[in-house]
């Protein structure tokens, strides 16, 4: 077991946790404002595909060289934002069931990247390979600092600014917030759109940071792991970060293990059991076995302004 805990494992944990942290922080903004976000998966896919496609275009067509991944990152951000606008309008303006719309977005985004890559690149769901030196930085130190800064910023915005106070108020007691003159709809739009931006960035990091192309369904459930981390982290920024690190670690272990690692007794640990850890932990914590994880009170309930 000892040789698992190497420096490379720590580095890979940080790398794998990064898209989770981005998406989970996004989910945090959305859910603290009272809008469930099971569409994180779809938003990440949108971000991942767009980032890879835009980076490719910037690199090959516009010859932007080293700047191309940054253009791609912006593309991923905008794609996440665009999906979030659709989601927000259907949930907030048209008061659609949030879980149903989220499921719709996820199904839609399983199809859209394949649909577009078939048309743009004549491929069956993936974008062309990008040159290795035209990707986002992957040094664990740089990523770690960026992620920590983002968590600190989220914490500050959520707990130390009037915006954060209103956001949380709208997620807990929308009637009271409304009575106090806060626009519930505007705060929820903000929450959902911020979620779209962050999940889009998370997806972008997946395709043009960790990898060098978009492949079909490349998020492989990471949006749901991010959601799990958010719940495991009890809808709080720092705990959510820790949960993402834990889940990133389980992923890193399961990648390193691929059949190789044995218990001291000589038996394989099936990789499937490592993969289950985040999901089992989430169920356990949600049931209140390890402290209680209470969602925002108004989560999932469309707000109907009283006349």
């Amino acid at each position: 077991m000892r040789d698992i805990f190497t420096l490379s494992l720590i580095a890979s944990t940080i790398r794998l946790a990064t898209p989770l942290v981005l998406a989970a922080l996004g989910g945090l903004f959305s859910e603290r404002s009272g809008v469930i976000n099971i569409a994180l998966e779809g938003k990440m896919l949108a971000g991942a595909f767009t980032a890879a496609a835009v980076t490719y275009a910037a690199d090959q067509k516009l010859h932007l060289g080293n700047a191309s991944p940054w253009v791609g990152l912006l593309g991923g951000l905008l794609a996440g934002l665009f999906i979030a606008v659709i989601y927000a309008v259907s949930c907030i303006k048209f008061k659609a069931d949030q879980v149903v719309s989220g499921a719709a977005i996820n199904i839609l985004m399983l199809g859209i990247p394949g649909f577009l890559s078939g048309a743009l690149f004549l491929s069956s769901g993936s974008t062309p390979q990008l040159p290795k030196d035209h990707l986002l930085p992957q040094s664990p130190a740089i990523i770690a600092i960026t992620v920590l800064a983002l968590v600190a910023l989220t914490w500050y915005v959520l707990y130390k600014t009037p915006f954060g106070l209103r956001l949380r108020a709208v997620g807990e007691k929308p009637e009271a917030a409304d009575a106090a003159g806060v626009s519930v709809a505007r705060m929820r739009y903000s929450g959902v759109l911020i979620a779209g931006i962050l999940a889009g960035l998370g997806g972008a990091y997946l395709s043009i940071g960790q990898s060098s192309l978009f492949t079909r369904n490349m998020t492989a459930g990471r949006g749901f792991i991010a959601l799990a981390a958010l719940i495991f982290g009890k809808w709080r920024p720092v705990q959510t970060l820790l949960a993402c690190l834990l889940f990133g670690f389980t992923e890193a272990v399961s990648i390193q293990m691929q059949g190789a690692v044995k218990l001291p007794s000589g038996e394989d640990i099936p990789v499937q059991f490592i993969q289950m850890v985040p999901y089992v932990l989430t169920i356990v914590v949600l049931a209140g076995f390890i402290g209680s994880s209470r969602p925002p009170r108004a989560l999932g309930v469309p707000y109907q302004k009283e006349n």
């Binding site: 879980v99 149903v100 719709a104 399983l110 199809g111 394949g114 649909f115 078939g118 749901f224 993969q275």
Partner: protein, 358 residues
């Protein structure tokens, strides 16, 4: 407007609107939407392949659509049909493998029981968690989907794979567990088409679900819980019990996908077999207005699209079969945001009045 017309109108508008949006997307990528739609829908109408495969693909969607419907009627959102049907498919194959030598008269009923009970069990877990701890079934069913997939993949890989088989699949089930394909009864219908008696079972389940929900006390209590939980509780209905019962029934229906897949089609458990049946079930239930008859039609529509997708892949220049999922997503989005069309109608009406007076 009569009740029935209203029930038919919104799904129809949602489908047409989705096809329009999809058509615009097809135009953008440079194909002719009419050609694409002709391929997509026309493929399903040929005899025997088109009709056979469409009905075959509608079978799992009817089961999962019913599963989601029963949940919805109780106010629950079962996103876990995908996990339930994986657990059930493996359990069914396990019975078929373990008791391979048994005669059909015993083995088939046992396999049916395995499919239904294992699906019901896997769905009852989030039911109990909700009833006992109040934890949200949406989150738990999502988590259980991943756990289910990992679990059955472990059992397949480590315990039930034929040695040396490069494919992630179990050894075959006993011949006694096979259920007949339509080719056995219908003259000129080739047996290579996997449409089997599970389709008839799916139709029967539509009737049974209808009778259960609208003609039995349990069904009444489930619907009462779904439409107004506090009134139901005041009326002496145990909400906690209804939640567990509804989830178990829902999971049992999802589990019946295994009958079609394992006993009628592949005759083994094949890892990753489900073409998003569980999630498409959500679309089927919603488009079918959470009614068993609606579920049949919605399942047929999505099955047609799925079958036609193969032809789109083969014969169109730019559009791939991904258009099927795109259409599905847009349809659910429109069904979910029903008030969007009401909003649109209110804005269109004054315009029409203006143009009429001119």
């Amino acid at each position: 407007m009569t009740q029935l017309a209203r029930e038919l109108l919104f799904p129809l508008i949602a489908v047409i609107a989705a096809f329009i949006v999809g058509g615009i997307l097809i135009l953008i990528v440079g194909d002719n939407p009419f050609d694409t739609y002709r391929l997509l829908l026309g493929a399903a109408l040929s005899w025997p392949d088109g009709i056979g495969y469409t009905l075959f693909q509608a079978t799992p969607l009817i089961f999962t659509g019913l599963a989601v419907l029963v949940g919805f009627r109780c106010g629950l959102f079962n996103i876990g049909a995908e996990g339930q049907l994986y657990i059930a498919a493996f359990a069914t194959a396990w019975v078929g493998i373990t008791l391979a030598g048994w005669s059909s008269w015993l083995l088939i009923p046992l396999c049916f029981a395995a499919a239904i009970l294992s699906g019901a069990f896997w769905a009852a877990i989030p039911g109990v968690l909700k009833a006992r701890f109040g934890s949200h079934e949406v989150i738990n069913t999502i988590m259980l989907n991943f756990i289910a997939v990992a679990l059955v993949s472990y059992f397949t890989q480590y315990h039930y794979k034929a040695p040396g088989d490069p494919i992630m699949e179990t050894v075959p089930i006993g011949a006694g567990a096979h259920i007949p394909r339509f080719g056995k009864f219908i003259h000129g219908f080739p047996e290579r088409i996997p449409l089997n008696v599970a389709f008839l079972l799916a139709l029967l389940c539509c009737l049974l679900v209808y009778l259960f929900l609208w003609r039995t006390k349990w069904g009444y209590e489930i619907r009462a819980t779904g439409s107004n939980p506090s009134a139901a509780e005041y009326g002496g209905i145990s909400i906690r019990k209804q939640i567990v019962v509804a989830m178990a029934v829902s999971g049992g229906l999802a589990g019946m996908v295994a009958i079609n897949e394992v006993l009628g089609y592949r005759y083994r458990y094949y890892d990753g077999f489900s073409d998003n049946y569980g999630f498409t079930g959500i679309a089927v239930a919603l488009l079918g207005r959470n009614h068993p008859v609606g579920v049949i039609f919605a399942a047929l529509l999505f099955a047609m699209l799925q079958h036609g997708g193969i032809y789109v892949d083969g014969f169109s220049e730019h559009v791939t079969k991904d258009i099927v999922q795109v259409l599905q997503g847009i349809i659910i989005l429109f069904v979910a945001a029903e008030s969007f069309f009401k909003w649109l109608a209110i804005r269109i009406r004054p315009l029409r009045r203006v143009s009429a007076t001119k």
